[in-house]
Homo-oligomer: 117 residues x 2
């Protein structure tokens, strides 16, 4: 049986929030964390999504209060702004810490298996 | 519009392999990468899965040739051994590199938005 120093600690993947872990939603939140807010078209193009796909994921994230979606008119043209909330930033920060734990564990695992060879 | 130094580079989440990114499958592969091989019960308990759920994910990963599943008899009792393949290790390594890029980008994004405040 595997028996490293961390056998008794919960595996880091158990702490990953699946709502945020999903690839596209992780992309949306990281773009927004960097930019603060972004318009719909920028998110769609950066993450290479269809309008429908982006809309669906934004709805899921808005339902969880991780971001807000505002449809406005600018110079008589409709524009959709998406902004990360404080809750969204906190959730992403937590997720990033868990991923960092996971990467550190994989690194230590590599060293450990090298020692055993 | 957000306009960092990396605006023209593909967003790291685009390079994430969804097959491996899925939380439970990422857990299975990281446990196996650390241990080399593991039995079914250890994986199930470490990742807090049901037998059915673990079986389903193992099948998905085996279909992609990222691991092998061997059902054997040891001391007349059935035991299922799961082993990561070279393809599996390579795929996990690639994924880990992408996650590392993503974390680095989030970090730089934080510094960038601090500078703008």
């Amino acid at each position: 049986m595997p028996d490293g120093p961390e056998s008794n600690a919960d595996h880091p993947t158990l702490a990953l929030d699946e709502l945020i872990h999903q690839r596209t939603r992780l992309g949306i939140l990281t773009v927004l964390a960097e930019a603060g807010r972004s318009d719909f078209a920028y998110l769609r193009d950066t993450l290479r999504l269809t309008d429908g796909n982006l809309s669906r994921h934004l709805q899921t994230l808005a339902d969880a209060q991780l971001l807000t979606v505002d449809k406005v008119f600018e110079k008589r043209r409709p524009r959709t702004w998406v902004e990360i909330t404080e809750t969204g930033r906190a959730a992403l920060d937590t997720q990033i810490e868990v991923l960092r734990d996971l990467l550190a564990r994989v690194e230590r695992g590599r060293d450990h298996s090298k020692e055993q060879q």
